[in-house]
């Protein structure tokens, strides 16, 4: 049998079912891989003992015929999901040492499906970033290398950079991510894997450290469309503990795979091809359109005119919500405390020491745009623009079934590049943010490599709660793309 860390989840489940491999063997192989891959800094906390204990239980369940649908599959969990008894840091100094006495709904769902937790994955601090360089625990390295410069360390994208890097390099079979403005899709694109941000409300936010509540959405990251469909099926579902959770049944997403895309109308938004769009990104987008045409789908040019306002609207709404959501990190009940002579000193010093520069910036911007006299000009205006953006999509979806765009404006860049100007960094999410604002499902899948050997992803955006069409089209594109390249670091077969 091949190296278990190169297996897909569906294949592993078949092998587990056939008794060809045990959950303990599968987990042990991944623990070794996780240890060998420490240079990537993908994990903040490794939980090998817990993982082996869970794997043993999984094997027991399987012998009793009581296995869950993902029983024995070793996963990494973004360190934004609260995990009972295991430190949850949000990659921030302010939560260092915080051990939640409770479990997020998504990770509880995954546990109930029988999955094994290998550890907690690195991310941008409080999920704020697009390069995984803002983590208090240091940057994550992308396992992919430029052909032209094998020494340059590249970013994995962010904020779910640890998840993307770990999945791409086989440290785990799949991972949870969260996506507020592109935090699943953009790192998936940078690391050559598949990731889906489901429709807002599809996965519960309960127990997920909040960044921007009206945008945050958990989702899976894995090496294939099928694996993502399997994971999402286990993660999703209505949760009465989250008032914004949709009371919708969860379909078997894998059933959507392999279906024909013949006759499907695929929207190609003109606004996503601005002057100066990276030529390789544009080319791979065109190639994606061709694949779909060949499969019988019909590309339709559409217009989403409010697109240009998406980024500014996002960078008002998300910081505004974050400024309020992060007020609870005050040194009183958990996490870091820097003592002060007065309560206000304690707050000010704790929060200055506990939050990194990007988080502080966003809190300050959010505080400003909500403050007296500015609310209407900024926050209220952004909320109105948000409706324009959502209306654009709604109009487009009257004529098309799915929308195809690039995921990110570039391939992975070097650690340290683009970090002096926050606004430049924010442009990474230019193609993912509109769907976030509209709450729509968006999936990124690897479509090919650029000339320097780095993966480029394409994004499929679907109607609300129509992840099935997104998966169906993604599976067709995955087949056409036949993306088999592996990162240099941890290329298939071992370190």
């Amino acid at each position: 049998m091949s190296d278990p860390t190169t297996l897909g989840i569906a294949d592993a489940l078949r092998l587990l079912a056939d008794g060809e491999i045990s959950a303990v063997e599968l987990t042990r192989a991944h623990i070794e891989r996780m240890e060998a891959g420490r240079a990537l800094n993908a994990f903040i906390t490794e939980t090998p003992d817990l993982a082996l204990a869970q794997a043993k239980e999984s094997d027991t369940r399987r012998t009793r015929g009581e296995e869950g649908r993902l029983d024995g599959i070793p996963l990494g969990i973004k360190d934004l999901f609260c995990t009972e008894g295991v430190q949850t840091s949000a990659a921030s100094a302010i939560l260092k040492g915080f051990v939640p006495p409770y479990e997020s709904t998504v990770t509880a769902n995954l546990k109930a499906a029988g999955t094994v937790m290998l550890g907690k994955l690195n991310l941008d601090e409080f999920a704020m970033g697009s390069a995984n360089v803002t983590s208090h625990f240091g940057p994550v390295e992308n396992p992919w290398k430029r052909r032209s410069d094998k020494n340059a360390k590249l970013v994995p994208g962010g904020s779910s950079g640890g998840s993307a890097a770990a999945v791409a390099s086989g440290l785990c079979m799949g991972a949870t991510g969260t996506d507020t403005g592109g935090s699943i899709r953009q790192p998936a694109s940078f690391c050559g894997i598949v990731g889906i941000k489901p429709t807002y409300g599809r996965c519960s936010r309960f127990g997920v450290v909040a960044f921007a509540s009206s945008l945050d959405q958990p989702g899976p990251m894995a090496r294939s469309v099928e694996d993502c469909a399997l994971l999402l099926g286990a993660m999703a579902g209505h949760d009465s503990k989250d008032s914004t959770s949709a009371p919708m049944a969860v379909p078997d997403f894998t059933k959507a795979l392999g279906g024909s895309v013949k006759g499907l109308k695929v929207g190609i938004p003109t606004e996503y091809r601005p002057d100066g769009l990276n030529a390789e990104v544009a080319a791979i987008w065109d190639r994606g359109v061709e694949w779909l045409k060949e499969a019988g789908a019909e590309p339709v040019s559409i217009s989403l005119p409010a697109t240009r306002y998406a980024l500014p609207a996002y960078y008002i709404i998300a910081p505004a919500e974050c400024s309020s959501n992060l007020a609870r990190y005050d040194g009183v009940r958990f996490g870091l405390r820097v003592e002060g002579a007065t309560l206000d000193d304690l707050y000010r010093e704790t929060r200055a020491a506990g939050f990194g520069a990007e988080v502080r910036r966003r809190i300050l911007i959010g505080t400003y745009v909500l403050s007296a006299g500015y609310y209407d000009a900024y926050y209220n205006k952004a909320q109105k623009v948000r409706r324009l953006i959502a209306d654009d999509f709604a109009r487009a979806f009257q004529n098309v079934d799915v929308i195809l765009t690039p995921t990110a404006p570039s391939a992975a860049f070097g650690i340290g590049e683009k970090s002096d100007d926050p606004v430049t960094m924010w442009l990474n999410d230019i193609f993912t943010i509109p769907a976030s604002l509209a709450g729509l499902p968006g999936l990124s899948l690897p479509a090919g490599l650029n000339q320097d050997g780095l993966p480029l992803g394409l994004q499929l955006i679907g109607r609300p709660f129509d992840e099935e069409t997104v998966f169906r089209v993604a599976a067709a594109m995955e087949k056409a793309a036949d993306f088999t390249a592996k990162p240099d670091l941890f290329a298939a077969g071992g370190a």
Binding site: S243, A327, Y375
Partner: protein
């Protein structure tokens, strides 16, 4: 009568608005499943949601929403079928999330009215601006430790209704009457227990003054969290006088939050809230707009009890009580019910006198409540029956009532046991009269000579001779006849 403050430069009128925070009667908190019981061990009624832990999300309690609607209907107010929860952002040690979930631009209840009853028998309608639902904060304790404040989050997340009046109140008396009436309505509705000592009902008073006859609105000060009606009145009076003094000495009033120090009877600036707040309200993205089913609102409307104003009207018309007596009896639903049980099929004025006189007196004396009375309504009714059928004189009835309090026995039993039956036997009374007259021939002569005032003395002597059991009316009549002889 207008309440005015006599200043050196003239008379000043008060403009008062009240914000009452009323704790909603519910088992669990507004957005979490933790209990709301008063007086529990510190931090024992706290969920991770109430403590603002990472990833925790609010889910609203249906009963709290219904209670707000019920209260709104009781205040004859507009129920807003769509309302929105907003975050009020500020940092404080007992505010774990760093924001209070409240309602801002779109409250669940809009304009309503409340009628207050004043001592001179008049009533006045006070406007209600709004009622909104919000979370309570935790409790900071500053006197447990020399250098630390202690934080107990048991209250954190408990549902409050903030009920805001229009600035229609003009005197401390009106403010007191407003709180009393509001408390009474809330208790009738069962939406707030009204317990001011336990903090279930807290009052913020917005006070300003203006020269008599002016209609300007001057700078107001907000006196926070006063926890008794008397203190609210004292605080308003103190604050209004302070404003007058400042204005008359050429100064200006700063808009600020003040604290009432009940031991000194003064208000003072709150240091911790000195710097201006900027609450950065925005719709809570963890919650969606609250949309009420009109059928639910109608259903609640149908289930409202008879409220104090209606009940008072009915008592005046049905039982012929004075407005004042009716007002006293309806203030608490339990007193009104007690009265109605006593009055049913009986002389209602006599019943009102007994309930408001001896019975309320007995409550005071024994420290008991109408809900747990020292004499049951049935027994008090039976006592009144014994008066009506002549078994007891009013005087004897008071003795029997005292024995009822003492022994808990029914009045008929006590009458038998103690032989307290009124003497109505003419010959027995005449015998007693003859005896008294015979012993006091000089006084008899004086009466016969025209000194009528002495009649009372004779009645008293006869009553004494019969151990108080003689029917006083008969004693009067027979004595008068004898004196004519």
């Amino acid at each position: 009568m207008t309440y005015l403050i006599e200043g050196e430069t003239g008379e000043w009128e008060l403009v008062i608005g009240l914000e009452v925070h009323a704790q909603v009667v519910s088992n669990a908190k507004l957005f979490s499943g933790a209990a709301t019981r008063f007086g529990a061990e510190p931090n024992s009624q706290v969920s991770f949601i109430d403590a603002g832990f990472p990833g925790m999300l609010p889910v609203i309690n249906r009963v709290c929403v219904e209670q707000a609607v019920r209260t709104g209907l009781g205040l004859k107010a507009k129920i807003n079928l769509t309302s929105v929860f907003a975050r009020k952002n500020y940092f404080y040690a007992d505010l774990p999330q760093g924001y209070q979930i409240s309602q801002y631009e779109q409250p669940i209840v809009g304009n309503g009215t409340l009628t207050i009853d004043l001592a001179d028998g008049t009533s006045k309608v006070i406007g209600i601006e709004r009622l909104h639902l919000e979370q309570d904060a935790g409790k900071s304790m500053h006197d447990q430790h020399p250098t630390r404040s202690y934080i107990d989050l048991n209250r954190s997340g408990v549902a409050l209704m903030e009920i805001v009046s229009k600035p229609d109140l003009r005197s401390p008396e009106e403010a007191g009457a407003y709180i009393a009436k509001l408390r009474s309505i809330l208790r009738y509705l069962g939406t707030c227990d009204g317990n001011m000592q336990e903090g279930s009902l807290r009052c913020d008073a917005n006070v300003s003054v203006r020269p008599k006859g002016s209609d300007e609105l001057r700078t107001r000060c907000e006196i926070k969290n006063v926890n008794s009606i008397r203190f609210v009145q004292q605080a308003i009076e103190y604050e209004a006088r302070r404003h007058v003094e400042v204005y008359e000495s050429g100064g200006t009033i700063d808009q600020e939050t003040r604290l009432f120090d009940s031991s000194k009877g003064e208000t003072r600036s709150m240091r911790s809230k000195e710097h201006a707040h900027d609450y950065r309200y925005f719709p809570d993205p963890d919650l969606l707009p609250l949309v009420l089913d009109p059928a639910m609102v109608e259903e609640i409307g149908r289930s409202l009890p008879e409220l104090p104003d209606e009940k008072k009207d009915r008592f005046v018309h049905e039982y012929g009580l004075s407005a004042y007596d009716a007002g006293v009896l309806v203030a608490e639903q339990a007193s009104a019910d007690f009265f109605e049980t006593v009055a049913k099929g009986r002389d209602s004025k006599l019943a009102a006198n007994w309930v408001m006189g001896d019975f309320f007196g007995a409550l005071n004396a024994t420290g008991r409540t109408v809900e747990d009375p020292p004499v049951s309504a049935a027994d008090l009714g039976a006592l009144i029956d014994l008066i009506k059928d002549g078994t007891l004189s009013g005087r004897l009835a008071k003795d029997v009532f005292a024995l009822m309090l003492e022994t808990g026995k029914a009045p008929a039993v006590l009458v038998e046991e103690k032989g307290l039956r009124q003497v109505t036997d003419t010959s027995a009374i005449e015998a007693a009269i003859d005896q008294v007259m015979a012993a006091n021939p000089d006084k008899v002569a004086e009466i016969k000579g025209g000194k009528d005032k002495l009649m009372g003395w004779f009645v008293g002597q006869v009553m004494k001779a019969t151990q108080g059991k003689a029917n006083p009316a008969m004693v009067n009549e027979l004595l008068a006849n004898k004196m004519k002889d």
